[in-house]
């Protein structure tokens, strides 16, 4: 029987790449949410963003110039993973000095309170991820830390073989320069992979600096090569100076973590199924009904909007009138629930009713409550 080893900040098992780390807890050690890209409530397919846009749960495409790359959830993945994010360059674009195109996750301060960045007790972290790119060379990214004085840590990494999965690990010392770090539900930091960043936002890799920098000097710009592909998965940020095994969470747990930032109803997509959502009442002139959506998970902040997909397949069940929705719109919300209204006609004011999704076409119906992402 083979045995593992114990060193100062890592417990290494006898299986290569499987280890426990040096954080306060080895459970929930990964500060990223959806680091394996398994949760995809947005369900958008392949998107070429024209502005900043969340396309896979918790992952933001940061765009200063529209339509230079596309993003999709992919089933191409290294051994041990089933999904990745696929980023594809849509042209051979010459990056200008002020361009800022990155793929990033924004991490909430509540999940980073032990880091102590901005103090003498700042903790060292290690960023690790799997990457597969059609290009080789030196690539860049950064950690952006919006404390009272904005700080950045640009990093670089080398992709040595094209179209080959490779694990990268980057150890980043805690920022000990005195600063007031964000707290609560606010943004603590952005971890970003540069896809095309101009000279205004690049500087030397490997140390904390004042200002907003998204990449390292001399990094390869993916969007400069038409059709270039970049797969990313197994993304982990953990306390300590060693990259340890990727923290697999149960799907329901990861899904719940995502719903803190995107409360949602998603129909299961099978044809000819009725999916009950909630109950409500006919509220105004027999033409609208109001409903309360009770979240599965309390959101980070109260939602401020609603995106409804296939809204005309949502249906009101009422004793008088009812039928397919003509509109589905947001009203207001707290962190306990959201109120929204559904347009119909011929109902009786004051009567109770039910809202369900009538899936006659296999099209996915969605209620996505917006405004909770960072």
């Amino acid at each position: 029987m083979a045995y593992g080893t114990v060193s100062a900040d890592i417990v290494q098992s006898s299986v290569s790449g499987v280890s426990l780390g040096a954080g306060n807890a080895t459970l929930m050690k990964n500060r990223f949410i959806n680091g394996a890209f398994n949760v995809n409530q947005y369900n958008l397919g392949t998107v070429t963003p024209t502005a900043n846009q969340y396309i896979i749960d918790r992952w933001l495409s940061n765009v200063s110039v529209a339509s230079k790359f596309s993003v999709a959830q992919s089933s191409v993945a290294p051994a041990g993973f089933t999904n990745s994010a696929l980023i594809t360059s849509t042209s051979a674009y010459t990056v200008a000095s002020s361009d800022y195109e990155t793929f990033q996750q924004r991490i909430e301060a509540n999940n980073m309170l032990d880091m102590g960045w901005g103090t003498a007790n700042a903790k060292t972290v290690t960023l690790s991820f799997w990457v597969n790119c059609s290009l080789t060379g030196t690539f860049g990214g950064s950690i952006y830390f919006p404390a009272s004085t904005t700080r950045s840590y640009p990093f670089s990494y080398t992709i040595s073989a094209a179209n080959t999965w490779q694990q990268i690990a980057i150890t980043i010392p805690g920022d000990t320069v005195t600063n007031t770090a964000p707290t609560g539900t606010n943004l603590y930091c952005i971890v970003q992979w540069a896809l095309g960043v101009g000279s205004t936002y690049t500087t030397t890799a490997g140390s904390w600096v004042n200002g907003n920098y998204a990449s390292s000097t001399g990094a390869t710009n993916l969007i400069a090569t038409n059709g270039a592909t970049f797969y990313l998965t197994g993304v982990q940020l953990e306390v300590g100076s060693s990259a340890t095994g990727f923290e697999y969470r149960q799907y329901g747990q990861e899904f719940a973590l995502c719903q803190r930032y995107l409360p949602a109803f998603n129909s299961v997509g099978a044809a000819n199924q009725v999916e009950m959502i909630t109950t409500g009442w006919v509220s105004n002139g027999a033409s609208t009904a109001q409903f309360i959506f009770n979240y599965i998970v309390a959101p980070r902040v109260r939602p401020t909007g609603l995106t409804c997909i296939n809204y005309n397949s949502f249906q009101i069940n009422a004793a008088v009138g009812g039928g397919l929705a003509s509109s589905v719109t947001f009203l207001d919300a707290s962190t306990a629930g959201a109120r929204f209204q559904v347009g119909q006609s011929g109902m009786t004011t004051g009567q109770a009713c039910q809202l369900y999704y009538d899936n006659t076409t296999s099209a996915v119906g969605q209620l996505l409550f917006t405004g909770c992402e960072l």
């Binding site: 409804c308 719109t329 207001d332």
Partner: protein, 73 residues
């Protein structure tokens, strides 16, 4: 993209939200909240000359939209 104003808040008396109305599949609706990305896009679209209906569904003029845009947070 065409937008229409509406009253959303339970105590609101003036339009405090907007919704999209010309897409047969996707409907977006949002409060006038600076942290909502759809609201941010709404303001960009208005500045670029998109169509905006008032609360009754009547199209607003370019001057009316310009004046309205100046009142938004």
């Amino acid at each position: 993209m065409t937008y229409q104003l509406y009253i959303a808040g339970i105590k609101a008396t003036e339009p405090d939200a907007a919704m999209t109305i010309n897409d047969p599949i996707v409907q977006k609706s949002f409060l006038f909240n600076v942290d909502n990305s759809d609201y941010q896009q709404f303001k960009i679209d208005l500045a670029n000359g998109t169509t905006l209906n008032d609360i009754t569904g009547s199209a607003m003029t370019a001057d009316q939209i310009k004046t309205f845009l100046e009142t938004l947070p």
